[in-house]
């Protein structure tokens, strides 16, 4: 496989690896700015996430024990691997597995320390995975049903925008994105705001540079998710960008109108409405 990659692909991989965290950080900055405006505040500058990251790397590397940090590294590296796989147009299921592995590393890191908040956060993170993972797999199934291939590159070969053939899956995917970005009402495992129920949840015991690593991984994840949203209108990237903006605003409005709800509610909701929508869409595609 490695020998089949030509130099243009190497450049694409390198560029996407460098660009993804910047895009993710900018989205996070915009997120904070727009949220502030929605609440009638001025809000921090858009490049605030960069300040945060630089600050985190200048702090003392405090930890509970060594094993915990290994998982932070694995989390980041596998998130980067997802970007590499996407840039190479690799097998979509493998991309999903790499992504799931990355999340599981975060969970295991949270569980490896003797901290109740971290442990509860980790368990909730697994519940979140349980809630959104089926929808992600079903999206891949839908892509396969249309292209007869699992390769990410096959999406570009479709003549019609994906949104036309899988509108219901797109709606379900938005819920999944809200979970992945830890937005209310799904922000059960950790959140960006000062919800102090389980303090900071899964990332509570990571400090300084180690928290920085997790934040960067989160930026990668944000970039990946928004890239996938854009892919729903893969034929015209400008419309794709518009779609992305709409999705972004929709998620922010959701975030600002809801409070944190329980994991049980989340699981019940995700395994009823979005899962039902996705399966309906799949059956429609299958019978076509």
């Amino acid at each position: 496989m490695m020998d089949k990659i030509n130099w243009t692909q190497w450049i694409i991989i390198a560029v996407s690896l460098v660009a993804a965290p910047f895009i993710g950080a900018l989205i996070a900055g915009l997120d904070r700015k727009v949220t502030a405006r929605m609440q009638g505040r001025k809000g921090p500058p858009v490049i605030q996430p960069f300040y945060d990251i630089i600050k985190l790397f200048s702090k003392q590397p405090v930890a509970l024990h060594k094993l915990q940090i290994l998982y932070a590294f694995l989390h980041l590296v596998f998130m980067m691997l997802v970007v590499v796989f996407l840039a190479m147009g690799q097998d979509l299921l493998m991309i999903l597995f790499a992504h799931a592995f990355s999340t599981i590393c975060l969970v295991l890191g949270g569980m490896s320390v003797r901290s109740p908040y971290s442990r509860i956060g980790s368990l909730r993170k697994i519940m979140q995975m349980l809630a959104y993972e089926p929808i992600l797999i079903l999206i891949i199934v839908a892509i396969y049903l249309q292209t007869d291939s699992f390769l990410a590159s096959s999406v570009m070969s479709m003549s019609k925008p994906m949104l036309c053939s899988m509108p219901l899956l797109f709606l379900a995917f938005l819920s999944a994105v809200a979970i992945k970005l830890n937005k209310s009402p799904f922000d059960v495992s950790t959140s960006h705001h000062a919800h102090q129920e389980i303090v900071k949840g899964i990332t509570i015991e990571y400090a300084g540079p180690y928290l920085g690593i997790i934040e960067i991984a989160h930026f990668y994840e944000t970039a990946i998710l928004f890239f996938i949203i854009m892919m729903f209108w893969q034929t015209n990237l400008y419309i794709g960008f518009g779609l992305e903006t709409l999705a972004f605003l929709a998620i922010l409005i959701l975030d600002n109108t809801f409070s944190r709800l329980t994991t049980t509610w989340m699981l019940k909701y995700m395994w009823s409405i979005p899962l039902f929508l996705s399966i309906a869409n799949i059956i429609w595609l299958w019978s076509k």
């Binding site: 930890a63 024990h65 940090i69 290994l70 097998d91 299921l93 790499a98 490896s112 368990l123 797999i137």
Partner: protein, 651 residues
């Protein structure tokens, strides 16, 4: 000469374990260990040699007679057991079995000609199973030497002698080897019943409560045996053949379905899962043997043996797939509700066997290769996990997952080995994940199965990561405890862990080198497999697993350079407990060591009283109740089994 040595190897693989078993039974303790180790070495060597040799066949003169006598003898023993334990259901079923065998003899006497085929043969599928049985099996046997030594000290007075235990333990390997090599259904039935008998004796090792569970195992497996003999009789009467070859050539659906039902009982698929759960009461090496090297693998082997070639009856295959997929998702769901480590492992085994059966039912090249891969990787990982749990249980005196916090410090070797085993069950780049990936890609054309498999995989990740999270929970320790392991147990743990790591590292290579050629061989000349399916199959083989290793490697190297080397004790902090930690606020060795609670967090409450709080793992108690879910799943599974029999025009 070539044939000669093949025959010798065959005889060694089947008879040597039985002979050494007798030696182990008769000899005193010291000699027994020696004979077990010797037997392990011989069996492992013979297993590897027979795999290297080209495929071969063997015919025993007068085998018809010998096989029938042996079969009657073993059913007789089961009859005798049924009478002594006064279980009339077992008695009735073994009587029916005996009747069918006699009917077959009478048929043969009255001149009903049955085409005779060779008795034993090796082909790639057999070879894979032989490798598993004759390498993983002996390693578990060596472990059992160390384990049973301390087990016997605490065993109840009702327990059977160690000699008897090891006789059945080792003979089991021989029977299993015979089972996978048998081509003649008479021999196959004999070995089938022999493994049933062995498992009955081993499960009931400790007497008392365990006798009851052993009885249930015997009951369910005798039911399977009945289905098996009925299938053989049908094949002999209708299709005038008694070999697997003949079965596949004649495309006889009814015997195939009957054999599959027999396989379901042995593989403990829903609704037959209860015997495997009850079998958890046996000493842990027995569980390891049943789950990884022998017993349940016999069932999945039988399904893989008989299903190719039945693509003409898609409905039957579909129903078989549904049973497998239902078991995969259902058992994973039940595993989530369990806190007993051995029950979690048992449900995980059942779940994986369900996936194997589902893959066999789908019957595409990729599905077949995935099934082979699951059997292989699962055997090694599950064997290892049982050995680890057995040792942890002996050390901490509990098999509750919640009690396993902090063992990473107390028994670092066992725990790291267990972590490797668990991660190999679900994480990339290990083989189990790759095979699950192939299974999903293989089922993509049938949405119902796919939904089951997706839900099953999600639940699998859930219960494994809960457990991994629990056993690696620990405080900071500058140095790990030194762990003293019995040499026999240590050897087995390390060997199997290395096996898991190596097969994990080379999983893609193993796939391309072994599973892909076998699959191509099995599916050669099949015209109904479309190009799309072959493309997917080839694309799976092309996957660059090396990228996963590069990623893991980069993470580890970066971690070592940036964290491990520079780690300072002054950077160690206590977990955040709102400032109310019971330990001293600044790091001192003693303060941290004393705080190594098994499952709790110590904090100061009112009046400086030190209290322990404990956060349990989720068991989805408000979603599912194990008992109710089991009843519903069993009902659904029985309905599907009846549909299966109906599809085969048996009802």
């Amino acid at each position: 000469m070539e044939i000669m040595s093949f025959n010798i190897l065959l005889a060694v693989l089947i008879i040597a374990p039985v002979v050494f078993g007798v030696v182990a039974y008769l000899s005193p303790d010291k000699l027994r260990s020696m004979s077990i180790i010797l037997c392990s070495v011989i069996v492992a060597a013979a297993g590897i040699m027979i795999t290297i040799k080209p495929n071969n066949q063997f015919e025993l003169p007068g085998s018809e007679m010998i096989a029938t006598i042996l079969e009657v003898a073993i059913v007789g023993i089961i009859l005798y057991i049924a009478v002594t334990i006064r279980n009339w259901l077992i008695l009735l079923m073994s009587l029916a079995q005996l009747g069918m065998i006699i009917a077959e003899i009478i048929l043969a006497q009255t001149g009903h000609a049955v085409t005779h085929s060779y008795d034993f043969a090796t082909d790639p599928l057999t070879k894979i199973l032989i490798l598993i049985t004759s390498i993983v099996g002996p390693i578990i046997a060596v472990y059992a030497i160390g384990y049973m030594k301390s087990h016997q000290e605490h065993a109840p007075p009702t327990a059977a002698s160690l000699g008897q235990f090891f006789f059945f333990f080792i003979a089991f390997l021989g029977f299993m080897n015979g089972l996978v090599m048998a081509n003649n259904l008479k021999w196959f039935s004999f070995f089938w019943e022999a493994t049933t008998l062995c498992s009955y004796m081993l499960i009931g090792q400790d007497g008392g409560e365990s006798k009851k569970n052993a009885e249930r195992a015997l009951l369910i497996n005798t039911f399977g045996g009945l289905a098996m003999v009925a299938g053989a009789l049908w094949l002999a009467v209708e299709n005038k053949t008694e070999s697997f070859e003949g079965l596949l050539a004649a495309k006889a659906v009814i015997p195939m379905v009957l054999l599959c039902v027999a396989a379901f009982t042995k593989s403990a698929l829903l609704p037959f899962q209860s015997w495997l759960l009850g079998a958890m009461i046996a000493p842990t090496p027995v569980s390891a043997l049943l789950h990884s090297a022998t017993m349940v693998k016999a069932g999945s082997y039988l399904v893989l043996r008989v299903t190719p070639g039945f693509h003409d009856s898609p409905k039957v295959m579909m129903v078989i797939t549904i049973i497998g997929a239902l078991t995969f998702a259902g058992a994973a769901l039940l595993a989530v509700t369990q806190s007993n480590a051995k029950r979690v492992l048992a449900y995980s085994t059942i779940s994986n066997l369900g996936l194997v059966v589902a893959c066999a039912g789908i019957g595409t090249p990729l599905a077949y290769a995935a099934a082979l891969a699951i059997i292989c990787f699962h055997a090694i990982s599950k064997g290892l996990l049982f050995l680890c749990v057995g040792r942890i249980e002996q050390k901490i005196g509990s098999r509750d997952i919640e009690d396993m916090g902090g063992i990473l410090y107390r028994m670092p070797v066992t725990t790291s080995v267990a972590l490797i085993g668990m991660m190999s069950m679900l994480l990339p780049p290990f083989g189990m994940l790759l095979s699950k990936w192939m299974a999903i890609e293989a089922t993509i054309r049938s949405p119902l199965i796919l939904v089951f498999i997706i839900l099953g995989s999600a639940l699998t990740v859930f219960f494994w990561s809960k457990w991994i999270g629990r056993i690696q929970t620990s405080s900071y320790h500058p140095k790990f405890n030194k762990e003293s392991i019995d040499p026999a147990m240590g050897f087995s743990l390390i060997t199997l862990a290395l096996g898991v790591l190596l097969t994990g590292l080379g999983s893609m290579w193993i796939f391309n080198k072994f599973f892909a050629p076998i699959t191509k061989q099995v599916f050669a000349g099949r015209t109904d497999i479309s190009d799309v399916l072959w493309n997917v199959f080839n694309a799976a083989g092309d996957f660059a697993a090396v990228t996963l290793f590069v990623a893991v490697g980069i993470a580890f190297i970066a971690y070592w350079l940036l964290v491990w080397r520079r780690f300072k004790e002054t950077d160690v902090r206590l977990p955040f407990l709102c400032g109310e930690n019971a330990e001293s606020t600044v790091y001192t060795t003693s303060a941290f060591h004393n705080s190594e609670g098994i499952r709790s967090y110590a904090f100061r409450s009112m009046g400086d009283k030190i209290e322990n709080s404990w956060s349990s793992t989720t068991y989805l108690k408000n979603f599912i109740c194990e008992k109710k879910a089991t009843i519903w799943l069993n009902i659904i599974a029985w309905v599907i089994i009846i549909i299966l029999l109906g599809e085969a025009h048996l009802l």
